[in-house]
């Protein structure tokens, strides 16, 4: 992929002033995809087919082909069906959906409407974390504009497709970003993830067929309709096409959200896009895709690109493409403790390994951070991560375990240096 990314023109957040205003959006070709889809050229299944062919991989973290997910919805039976848009954006290091809410809300709204049409949904819910109160208001305004123009509501643009669109505020729980937990929350219940199967397409909101997509995933949909799946798959990495909103934070000179094709070399992102490590320090480590993705050593980044295949090879994941950059002065023990603290604080507490394991991890890490740990505690931590992983209802336990395992394994010397010399030889 080398340096082609340098010529890339953003499509999700193009540089157009006031794009969030529906009139500006319309002037720039907005809602054309929706109009097209509702016209005679498209059918719900042909929309699904096109999106599937585009291989828009879920931008919420799991990377599942959106069109394929839509195709799991059963045949309409005249009863309610739902699209739930996931704007919970709570994974530390992730702040990209907010960019869309603020700068191009109608692209997402249009995408959600097309998705709802393709799956014949009757209602769309937009779930946004409560901390984003200003952005919730922005979205409410944008939705009102779209209602006023007849893009949402009864018989949209004279077609027989009708859909309602509501925002719903979270109340400060990371776990409500997990899709089934979000459904519980939308139903007004405690945000406990559900046991799968049954999957939401069979048994979602109020027991009805439901599809959950991330905001950025949906924002790509109008582009695919307008320009075709072939155009989309030609961008970026073959296995994970399209552009990505990279959220870069940490010790870089120009933190922020940057839209670039997938597959950009991670070092280019840090050094060129984000202006390099602050104060000319050396790069020590980077978390590539939100706090749950395993940290990569700064000295092992040569040739690693931001797509699922390359990152898997490097021992991590693309996740939400939220990069956290750390310089040579960073205390990895401190970082890991802070991450563990987050997952401990956010475990819903439903299942045993996660409820108990996240707290145990944090407490032992705190002990090590305070210089009271012993080497055997490191092995205990690794054991605990094995005991948690793959044994819970949702992936939060995995998300809590991976950073611990990989940070210790990749920076073991630093952790050992913080431990007391134990007087006994212990296993």
């Amino acid at each position: 992929m080398a340096s082609e990314w340098k010529n890339f023109e953003p499509v999700l957040i193009p540089d157009i002033a006031n794009l969030r205003n529906i009139d500006v959006y319309l002037d720039n070709g907005g809602y054309e995809a929706l109009k097209a889809v509702l016209g005679s050229e498209w059918t719900p299944s042909s929309v699904i087919g096109e999106v599937k062919a585009a291989n828009i991989r879920g931008r919420g973290g799991a990377g599942f082909n959106a069109g394929l997910k839509w195709s799991f919805m059963p045949e309409p039976d005249g009863k309610p069906r739902y699209l739930a848009c996931n704007g919970d954006e709570s994974e530390p290091g992730t702040f990209k959906d907010r960019k869309l809410f603020e700068f191009n809300p109608h692209l997402f709204i249009e995408g959600a409407l097309i998705a709802a049409y393709a799956m014949q949904c009757t209602t769309i819910y937009l779930y946004i974390r409560g901390e984003y109160i200003d952005w919730i208001h922005m979205m409410d305004r944008a939705l009102q504009q779209a209602y006023d123009k007849g893009f949402i509501g009864e018989n949209i643009l004279g077609s027989d497709f009708s859909v309602d669109f509501y925002t719903h505020s979270g109340a400060g729980a990371y776990i409500c970003g997990e899709e089934t937990s979000m459904l519980e929350s939308l139903e007004g219940k405690r945000g406990y993830p559900r046991v799968k199967p049954p999957f939401p397409a069979q048994n979602g909101l109020w027991g009805r067929p439901t599809t959950i997509n991330n905001i950025e995933t949906l924002a790509n949909v109008p582009l695919v309709i307008n320009k075709g799946a072939d155009w989309f798959t030609s961008i970026g990495a073959r296995n994970h096409p399209g552009s990505i909103l990279y959220g870069i934070s940490g010790q870089v000179n120009r933190p922020g959200v940057y839209e670039l094709p997938s597959g950009v070399p991670i070092l280019d992102l840090i050094h060129e896009v984000a202006g390099g490590v602050r104060n000319g320090k050396k790069l020590k480590a980077v978390i590539p895709g939100g706090s749950s993705t395993p940290v990569l050593r700064g000295d092992k980044l040569e040739g690693v690109t931001m797509d699922s295949d390359s990152l898997r090879e490097a021992g991590s994941m693309l996740g939400t493409a939220g990069l956290v950059v750390m310089d040579e002065d960073t205390d990895m023990v401190d970082v890991l403790w802070r991450i563990a603290h987050f997952y401990h604080h956010e475990s819903c507490g439903q299942c045993t390994p996660c409820r108990e394991g996240t707290g145990w991890l944090e407490k032992v890490l705190l002990k090590i951070k305070n210089g009271e740990g012993e080497i055997r505690d490191l092995d205990l931590l690794l054991d605990v991560t094995t005991q948690m992983e793959g044994r819970t209802i949702c992936a939060l336990a995995d998300a809590a375990a991976w950073p611990v395992r990989h940070t210790i394994n990749r920076f073991r010397d630093e952790f050992e240096a913080r431990c007391k010399r134990s007087t006994f030889a212990t296993a």
């Binding site: 405690r190 507490g349 045993t352 108990e356």
Partner: protein, 582 residues
């Protein structure tokens, strides 16, 4: 028939069972906490992990693929599965802790997790001895703990409601209690609060957990987090004897267990019967232990000079009975049976009446209209209204019965265990000139108004049958000794651990806890003998029921054996004649 292989053994199955339930039904074991057969499946404790695979089939032919040894090629699920939540499917291959090291590890790891924040205060915990966490830990848990940091602290001794106390530190967050109030009692009074390892169940602020079924959560709770305010700290479970019985506080006849120590009923818990109460019972039924222990009529009493009652010997009481009877004409005697007494007792009263020419006993149902909830609480306040209808006792409205006594030249009324004055069916002044003879279990205004009182055994002291509102006949077992019964001689009485293994110092025997009373069959036999009748029942209630089964058509063929085998028997109740209201 579809098949499943569990630890190498082949089993056939029907329908769509869940794997854990299927395993348990085969008499095999997998440890679990959150699963309950009558509630939804949250799969949150993660204890019931097993390894599951499916045989690989050839895409084209549909045949099983075989390996070089001719065995089916199995595709294992990449992760261990919770057996409670997974459906058994045809050809499935399952490995439990019996045959797989990884499964054993996972179960052990999970128990280690559960225990890290558990207070481990078994020595002072009511649940100890019947605690699934204790049992599973001994069987499948780790030997020690590697947890050397600080445990989470949570509220203790929280009075959730009038009857239930919470120790949040012991809670393992299985959500059985919250699911119960959501799905079974439907009061939604409990919810889990906070997150992660700070979780615990609680009511909404300012609300109290006064669910009429609240104590079921104490039974459901797999640890000692929820305890009964009444029972807590009163006994270790292994000190008690457990005896099956029937709830007599309303018409549903919930199946229960009586837990006794030293001849006191210390607690009552529901016993599973899918035909009646499933696993549940109303809280009110649990308070009946006081009826069995307190305020009992012990030794007969006779009234002297129409004034005060004094205790009397049995001989003297029987002589007094005969004197009263002989001083009036048979048609001046009115017998009143009782929906609160068993089929056997009412039958014997009827039989005595027939033999002596006193006529058929009357009765008044004990209803509290509107108090039923369509679930396990019935309008009917008595356990055997249907039973005495089927026996053919004569049914009266509340007013009718009083009129019968005042208007029709009645001089002597014999009441079988029914507090008719207390429940305002009769008044004390009816007995100013009329003799009242009372056969009863507990002191009340009615017994205190009587000229002669005979103490009889209560449901906790005898084997006897009751027909519930739906026409199901079910029976009790003797749980408490009386002055005249002996646990070691009565084969129907349960033998507790201490009876069997204790030293003489382990087994309390407080004479005062034994009531001086007789079962109706023994007492009526004594009275009958005195009056020249032969109504002896050497085998007690069992023999009475055999006779009823021969003589009363509605009870044809009914026997204790059949009731025991089938957890009660549905009798044919004529729905037109009998209003079976909840």
């Amino acid at each position: 028939m579809p098949e499943v292989y569990i630890d190498g053994e082949r089993y056939e199955f029907e329908g769509k069972p869940k794997l854990l339930q299927f395993i348990l039904d085969q008499g095999l074991e997998v440890p679990y906490f959150c699963y309950h057969p009558s509630m939804s499946i949250p799969a949150n404790c993660r204890q019931c992990m097993v390894k599951v695979g499916q045989p690989v089939r050839d895409r084209e032919t549909g045949e099983f693929e075989l390996d070089e040894n001719g065995d089916r090629v199995i595709r294992w699920f990449p992760k261990l599965q919770t057996s409670c939540s997974i459906d058994v499917t045809d050809g499935m291959v399952v490995k439990t802790q019996e045959s797989d090291e990884l499964v054993r590890r996972a179960q052990k790891d999970n128990l280690e997790f559960i225990l890290i924040n558990h207070p481990l205060d078994c020595p002072i915990c009511d649940q100890a001895g019947e605690c699934p966490l204790q049992i599973q830990t001994y069987k499948y848990g780790p030997e020690g703990s590697r947890f050397e940091v600080k445990k989470v602290h949570k509220p203790k001794r929280v009075q959730l409601g009038p009857r239930v106390v919470l120790d949040a530190e012991r809670c393992i967050n299985c959500t059985r209690c919250t699911r119960f109030v959501d799905e079974v009692s439907k009061t939604h009074q409990l919810t889990i609060t906070k997150r992660g390892d700070s979780n615990y169940p609680i009511t909404a602020p300012g609300e109290t957990f006064d669910d009429p079924y609240s104590l079921n959560t104490v039974d459901l709770c797999p640890v000692g987090a929820l305890t009964s305010a009444d029972f807590r700290f009163r006994a270790r479970v292994w000190e008690m004897n457990q005896t099956p019985s029937i709830d007599i506080t309303n018409g549903k006849g919930c199946n229960i267990d009586l837990w006794t120590r030293d001849n006191l009923v210390l607690r009552i818990t529901p016993r599973h019967n899918p035909h009646v109460n499933d696993w549940w019972m109303p809280d009110k039924g649990r308070e009946a232990n006081r009826l069995f222990n307190e305020n009992r009529i012990s030794r007969p009493s006779v009234k002297i000079d129409g004034e005060s009652q004094v205790k009397s010997s049995w001989n003297n009481a029987i002589e007094t009975f005969v004197e009263h009877i002989e001083s009036v004409k048979p048609e001046e005697i009115l017998l009143i049976g009782s929906p609160h007494a068993s089929v056997e007792e009412n039958y014997l009263l009827t039989k005595l009446g027939n033999l002596m020419g006193w006529g058929t006993p009357h009765f008044t149902p004990h209803l509290n209209e509107g108090s039923g909830d369509g679930f396990l609480i019935t309008d009917d306040q008595a356990p055997n209204t249907q039973g005495i209808r089927l026996l053919g006792l004569s049914e009266n409205d509340n007013d009718q019965l009083a009129k019968r006594i005042s208007d029709s030249g009645i001089s002597c009324v014999i009441i079988l265990n029914d507090a008719l004055i207390d429940r305002n069916v009769l008044t004390e002044d009816l007995f100013d000139d009329t003799c009242l003879i009372y056969f009863g279990t507990n002191e009340n205004k009615t017994s205190q108004s009587a000229d002669l009182v005979f103490p009889i055994t209560c449901v906790a002291e005898h084997a006897a049958s009751y027909v519930n509102v739906d026409g199901r006949i079910q029976r009790s077992f003797p749980a408490k000794e009386t002055k005249y019964s002996n646990r070691r001689l009565n084969l129907e009485m349960s033998e507790g651990r201490l009876d069997r293994y204790g030293t003489k110092f382990d087994n309390w025997v407080t004479e005062d806890n034994k009531v001086d009373c007789l079962p109706a069959w023994d007492l009526f036999a004594l009275i009958g003998m005195r009056m020249g009748l032969d109504i002896e029942y050497e085998m007690g209630g069992r023999e009475v029921m055999d006779e009823i089964g021969r003589k009363v058509p509605s009870f044809e063929g009914v026997s204790y054996e059949q009731m025991d085998d089938e957890s009660g028997i549905a009798l044919n109740i004529d729905s037109k004649k009998v209003k079976s209201k909840n």
